[in-house]
Structure formats: C-alpha cells, structure tokens
Symmetry: C2
Subunit: 260 residues, 2 copies
C-alpha cells in the first residue's frame, strides 16, 4: 500500500522571535497539506526569562547545562508561552494544532544523558517515539506541535535539542508515512557564500558534504543541523530539506535537499 505523505517541519528560534516572520510562517504552515507535525525551538526568550529570574546560564565548553532552575524556565517558556501562542495562532488560521511535549501521550521517551566528563544536567537523549500517539492524533485530523522537551517515563522532564526531536520524529514515523523532514531557518538553504542568499547549494550528498567541510564553506552552526539530516537519511527518512519558510510553498524550489 502506498504510504501517505507526512511533513515534519522544524522552525527555529529566529522565526519565532520576529512577529512578522512568525505570522508568515504560521500562514504558510497552515496551508501545507496535512498530515503534518511542527517542532519548535526556544529562541532567546528563555534566556531573557532566566535573566529576569536571576538564573545564570551555566555553560561548559560552550554548551549550555540544564540545571534544575534552567529546566523550569524551559518548561515555562517552551511548553507554556511559546507552544500555546503558536497553537492559538495556528488555530486562528484554521489549522487544528495541538501542542505537546514528549511527556504528553508518552510521545517522546528519553533518558538523562549519563554524566561523563561533563554533567549536562536535565538533558535528554531520545530513546523512543510513540508512533501510536502520533498516529492517533494525525488520524483525528490534529496537527501536533512539539516543543523541545522530553520525559524519562519516571516523572522527570528533560531538555532535548529541537533539531534532534524533529529528526527522531521523522525517523520514527517513516515506516508508516512517506515522510519529509524540513529544517526551516532564516536562510533560503545552505549557502556557498554566507553573505549571498542567492548562493543556495541545491543538493548536498555525503561526498559533497565532505568537500564543503574541507573548503571551510559551511557556517559553524550548520554542522550539527546537517549531521541531523544525514542521520535521518541513514535511518530511512526518504526526504530531508533545509531552507527558509518559503520551502513549504508549492512551486518553490530554491532550497537545499540532502541525500546520502
């Protein structure tokens, strides 16, 4: 039987923080054919709220540590403020959004990252996507909207990278749906020249990726994103793309497609 198409769309903090861009994104996303799943990052709002609450960001080797107060802020800002405003915005556009963390419906089970050289605190590495919960919601015509939080099944919420959540959802759903994973960010795709938005590299396979790496063309921040893409492709996600929100519009073909 031919699998139904499913879009898993990740949007970053930069989209969320710009009200004009956010409205455009919600409008484009709401017109995208269902079934579809949205995954959102946190953006600077969590840092702002932490600052206002007098919680200092703990960084080790440039990586943020999720201590208990930081996790509380993540719960407040990601699962509360941002998630509910996105859901209400999508509902206003006729998209039957339903906001979730990984704990809701046991959608995404994770484990606390083991303490090695670094103790990342309440950071979760994904173990399992609950495809039953996802399918129930999608079949009921709902559009799951995920924030970047998971749980360990023992009562503990955990902070998980939103790009990772998106790829894990796409991987989990691929046996049942013909899944496309879209990473939406501020640029129209992976750029050959970071200062020139028209320099989108239309296709990157693993050979080309090594080439670009060797040439030092890729922006630092792109590397984990592209690694997530290749991970998803290796785990049988049929289609993975990087671009700005226009990538979700029919007829638009100026974005980066990743292939193995």
């Amino acid at each position: 039987m031919k699998k139904e198409a499913l879009s898993v769309v990740k949007i970053g903090g930069n989209v969320i923080e710009d009200q004009g861009r956010l409205t455009e994104m919600l409008s484009i996303f709401s017109r995208l054919k269902s079934p579809k799943i949205l995954v959102h990052g946190g953006g600077k709002r969590a840092t702002e709220v932490s600052g206002q609450l007098g919680i200092k960001a703990k960084l080790i080797g440039g990586r943020r540590i999720t201590d208990a107060p930081t996790l509380e802020v993540a719960l407040m800002v990601y699962a509360g403020l941002i998630n509910k405003n996105l859901v209400a915005g999508l509902q206003a556009m006729g998209c039957n959004a339903l906001g979730l963390s990984g704990a809701d419906g046991d959608a995404i089970r994770a484990h606390k990252r083991p303490v090695g050289k670094v103790d990342y605190g309440f950071a979760g590495d994904v173990d399992k996507i609950n495809t039953g919960t996802m399918s129930s919601l999608l079949s009921a015509g709902m559009v799951p909207v995920f924030c970047a939080l998971t749980h360990d099944g023992k009562g503990q919420m955990l902070n998980t990278n939103a790009d990772t959540i998106a790829s894990e959802i796409a991987i989990g759903m691929s046996p049942f749906y013909n899944t496309t994973l879209f990473y939406c960010f501020e640029n129209p795709g992976v750029l050959r020249d970071r200062t020139d938005p028209s320099s989108v590299i239309r296709q990157i396979d693993s050979v080309k990726y090594r080439e670009l790496l060797a040439q030092g063309i890729l922006a630092e921040g792109m590397l984990p994103k592209i690694e997530n893409c290749f991970h998803a492709l290796k785990k049988q996600v049929p289609r993975v793309c990087i671009g700005d929100l226009h990538m979700l519009q029919p007829g638009h073909d100026e974005y980066t497609t990743l292939t193995l």
Copy 2:
C-alpha cells in the same frame, strides 16, 4: 445505549503545592477508572513567578485582572511548568496523560469578557467545549489534563477559572458520557464546622444550600464552587461531588454530593 462513565476531576492549587499531597493525588487519580479528565488550577506559583519578574498583581474589587504580562505568566506557569510536571508524574504511574490548554485541538473556545464597569483584561468566558477533540483523545486511551487557559479562536489565549473549566467540560461531555464532576480540595467535603473535618455535610440540595447560606455556615470561598456545582447539575451533569482526594477511592463515602 448505556452511556460510558466519565470522571472529570478538578484539583486546586493547594494540592499542587504540597509535594506529598500531590504524589498521593496523582497515585489515586491514576488508579481511577478511565475514561477520565483532570483539570488543574494554578496555585501560588504564578504569583511567585510574577513577583520574581517584577509584575505587580492588579486587583480590582478583590478580583485579579489578567493584563498582558499576567497572561504570559499564566501561560508559563499553568500550561508549562505545572501542566508538564503533572503529565510527567502521571505517565510515571502508567496513566497516559496528555496536557492541554483550551487552544489545543480547539478544545475550549471562549470570548474575552466584555469591558463593563471593570476591564478584566484577558479573562475568557467559555463558549464551547469541543466534544470531538475530547472524544478522540479519550477513545485513543489518553487522559486529558487541562490547565485553566482557553482561546478565542482568533489567536488570543485567555485566562479562565479552573472550577468553571471543569464544570463546562462536564456539561459538554454529559450528552455522551455518564459524567461525574469531582471538585477536589483540601477539606473532605463541605463542612458544617470549618474547624472540624469530621463535620462533612453529605448531601446539599438547593433548599439546604439556601438554609446553609442563611445560617452563614459556608466559607466565603465555597460559594462560587457550589454555584458552579449547581450550574453543572442544572445543565444535566448527573453527579457532582466536593471533597478531598480520597473521594476518588472506591468505598470512600465521606464527601459532599450536590443535588438540585
């Protein structure tokens, strides 16, 4: 056809704030027969967070006004912090909880309270319970956990009293389920003597209610709760009870049942 039984359980802020009582509540609730719906209040945490963020509570005539910063705190604390911790706690006990605001799945539509003598700000009065969304989730074996937030369908989240949300859900579901509405709070029921927990009034009908009112026996805070109960009964909710969390345990009969 005989309707299936449904429990709608409201828990107050006092239960949420006491970790021991909360664990006991989650344990008792998780053992309650499904289908069931949990509705939770906010408690003092929102006030604390508001204070830490330097947001002053706006009160007019003793009633809290939901201005824009207060609504943001409600989104953060009710829909984020409290809701997700409750959901993760229930999941740990094998209860397939899924947290929702009224915007999620368009579950509870409301309108902003019209400005009269008082402008209550972003306070929502409930218009409609989406029984389709509720039934989809319940049929999929999930346990909806509602925080006290609704939306207006035009992108605006609204603050709504949790007791009211519980009664409106019970009213909305009663045509389809044999619904019991449980108001769980710190006392074992409505007390004849506020200082004596053994003085539970087992049954209150509207005649008895007027009697108790005339005698000045009822605590101030009980009046809106009891009004909500009578409203639900008048709107065909078959059974409405007030008591502490033990009310949800089989065999326990020391609580207050309201009748018309």
